[in-house]
Amino acid sequence: MTKPSNEAFFWMLFSAGGVVAALLIPVQLFLFFIAFPLGWLQAPAYDSLLSLVRMPLVRLYLFILCSLPLFHWAHRFRYTLYDGLKVKHLTGLIFVLCYGGAVLGTVIAAYLLWTT
């Protein structure tokens, strides 16, 4: 009998994060971190951006935008270190750092979005 494994759970988080990253990050990244800083497009004023971020649906959107892709990163980065760089002896530490980072980022996102 094989041991029950959590791999499917982590894979689902990875997969959901991959979809969110593919659909949403290119446009978000292009607007906020390329087009606005370079002045290609008129950035929204502080007040209008703040009131946008305070809308409940936008808070939820930003939470999903930050949290799920972090779990996507944790899964991929973990296997890049295992397979790509062949650091197999640190398996436990890498696992804790990757998923610990994702959980920490999720908690910070929840706190920031809740208190903004």
Partner: protein, 142 residues
């Protein structure tokens, strides 16, 4: 008595059978385009994490007030940050394209017992990508 044992070569040999354990270099992925593509795709996840950190910094600055937000915007205009974000953009678009193109292999769609062509399975993802991107632009810019 001892001579008998040394005359029988089958009973003991100096040669230890070697395990078949080929040595793979740490740089195994540099040799072939397919392997390099795989590693580049996996590395895109690092830029995903960078984007999340930047977004959290932006929300944090918004939360702290107009001055903090102006300072954040100033930091984002730093040429090095712009270069990082342009590189990130290409990596994440690469992730998106490989992700959408994998969907037909991950879940082949069958209609009437026949597999749909891969283009038809991948196409809806690209349409969704376009619509979602246009919607985000509309919400942010209008």
């Amino acid at each position: 008595m001892n001579q008998d044992a040394s005359k029988d070569p089958a009973s003991y040999t100096l040669y230890h059978p070697r395990w078949y354990r080929p040595q793979v270099s740490v740089y195994w992925w540099l040799g072939e385009w397919h392997y390099l593509k795989f590693i580049l795709r996996e590395l895109s996840s690092v830029f995903v994490a960078v984007f999340v950190v930047e977004t959290l910094l932006m929300v944090s600055a918004l939360r702290d007030g107009p001055e903090a937000y102006a300072h954040f915007q100033q930091c984002m205009r730093n040429p090095l940050v712009i270069v990082l974000n342009v590189v990130s953009f290409f990596f994440i678009v690469f992730h998106a394209i490989t992700w959408f193109n994998l969907a037909p292999s991950a879940m082949p769609v069958r209609v009437g017992g026949k597999k749909l062509p891969e283009v038809l399975v991948a196409a809806p993802s690209y349409v969704a990508w376009l619509i979602v991107s246009a919607f985000v632009c509309w919400v942010v810019l209008h």
